[in-house]
Symmetry: C2
Subunit: 326 residues, 2 copies
């Protein structure tokens, strides 16, 4: 499986590392909007190319992994690139997924390509677990808790604000709410009651801090529905105290079974991650493998993690799965 | 989706309850080896029939759920019934899955039917999570811990021993081993170091207790590789102290990502179940839905949980999944 990486930030580097861990994958080229001469990659055998030269690789890449931001990059890049490549992205603006799906589906189908959007862990593995758990326990409630961890999408969103140099956003679960859920109390929780958001922001000298803080706190989809704290720090503090990009969280479904719903059943899927982008990249590589296979079976158009059988995510032969993993 | 239940013990009753929770499923008939007159079911609109009359329902049932024991029932029943029905079972003798798969695959394919074996939570949801987690983190180790809970398969195996009236087997995780895994210590653990097995057995008056205990402790696949304790109790004690059939456990994968494997990532899938058979039945119903749909798309032969896309497990329309669950 010949892989291309389009965009070489934290996620792109994570995809490169994931390729190195999977013998059935090979990195062909990295495409960047920066000067290729100045982009150092880890893979000797792969090229670094200008993003605008991507079409020259049309027949040299089986799956192109698009590593752009969800706010402005992916809504344009993924439909456009799916005209010429099989593509995968990690689009994570939940509210805009149906719209993104339709745009990518049209472009991919018209050109006989396959695409998969919103791969990663949320959206991604958490979504798969939400879906499976609610299918298994139709009478129940589900809960998703994130953190404490850095959200790349939310940090990016802050960075796009005028006057901001850099930022880290931590998503923090409200512990007391999580306890109630694990005890099977089925609490009704608003968005605000489940998580808080902590923002550490490096601003340009002389920037209007009050405006920046206000723009963050009122940003729709990202911050408006949460109790958000904004702390301005120096670039040095950010480097020293907030260098890692850990994350994690839990998807929990509490449901009942039996004639009168007399038995309680609890399903939890939990992640504890040192590196959010590297884990996201590792998930993406599994789904890249899957769509590569689905394409070989003749499938085209836009897919999501919901469309993928576990079997297609793994490099293990089916007979070995039956003997050792089932 | 018209459902038949073949075998009406704990699992069969669980399937009936699961059908009641899923508006797209309808119970048509229960087939029993007992006298149908003496079997009371919960569904007024469903028939109770003798097992040998099952063929009369060939065109009235979309998926037949086979609720027999793995030791002797399913290896015969599932291949046989898959000649005339789309079938699903919860075959859980891990060591014999490849053989069972081949037998069912041949019978189902030759007759244009679809089958799914080994549905439930282990094998089943735990298998799906083992597979997905190891695909995501190829450099890592995985661990499955069960319990503390009653294993139906192991209890059944004890009940088949001559001189045994009834039995409950509890599978217990070794807590210290589980702690090491969750701390990311990657311990090497033998089967014996991970779990112990506690057996509570009601024997016939005058039965050779020493022989029974020995037959349990040396039973291959089931008990031979574990530290097993056998306690003989009265029927009254069993009724009073061991009435519930709780279970649960965790599938944990600890792996590394990054250029030099410098970041640790931990995935855990955890179940806490008041009723093992009802939860198993709830999983089975999701996979019954899936194979019903796969059959409509022209697929035949034997499948496993590895072949099923999450989408097919759920009654939720795809558009709604994209908007609310991804």
């Amino acid at each position: 499986m010949r892989i291309g990486i389009y965009g070489y930030g934290n996620l792109g580097r994570g995809v490169e590392c994931a390729v190195m861990q999977n013998p059935d994958a090979e990195l062909v080229a990295v495409f960047t909007r920066r000067d290729p001469e100045k982009v150092k990659i880890l893979t000797d055998t792969a090229k670094v190319e200008k993003a605008e030269n991507v079409l020259a690789y049309k027949d040299k890449i089986d799956v192109l992994v698009i590593c752009g931001g969800s706010a402005t990059d992916l809504p344009v890049m993924t439909p456009e690139l799916s005209k010429d490549f099989n593509v995968i992205d990690s689009f994570d603006t939940h509210a805009r997924i149906p719209e993104h799906f339709n745009n990518v589906d049209k472009a991919a189908k018209e050109n006989g390509n396959i695409a998969l959007i919103s791969a990663g862990w949320d959206p991604g593995m958490f979504s798969v677990n939400r879906l499976m758990a609610s299918a298994i326990l139709p009478e129940g409630k589900d809960y998703t808790f994130w953190g404490r961890g850095v959200s790349q999408g939310h940090s990016d969103a802050i960075r796009r604000i005028k006057g901001v140099i850099d930022a880290r956003q931590y998503t923090c679960p409200v512990e007391s709410a999580m306890e109630k859920v694990r005890n099977g109390e089925n609490p009704v929780l608003s968005t605000r009651e489940k998580h808080t958001r902590e923002c550490y922001v490096v601003a340009k000298e002389g920037a209007d801090l009050e405006r920046i803080e206000n723009e963050i706190k009122t940003m729709p989809n990202y911050f408006a529905d949460y109790d958000t704290t904004v702390t301005f720090i120096t670039k040095e503090e950010l480097e020293k105290e907030h260098k890692g990009i850990p994350h994690g969280g839990s998807v929990i479904r509490t449901g009942v079974t039996g004639k009168d719903g007399e038995n309680k059943e609890i399903i939890e899927y939990k992640l504890k991650l040192d590196s959010n982008p590297e884990f996201t990249a590792s998930v993406i590589l599994c789904y890249a493998r899957a769509i590569y296979r689905m394409k070989q079976r003749g499938e085209t158009g836009c897919k999501t993690v919901f469309d993928v059988a576990p079997r297609d995510m793994s490099a293990v032969p089916y007979e070995e799965m039956l003997a050792h993993m089932l």
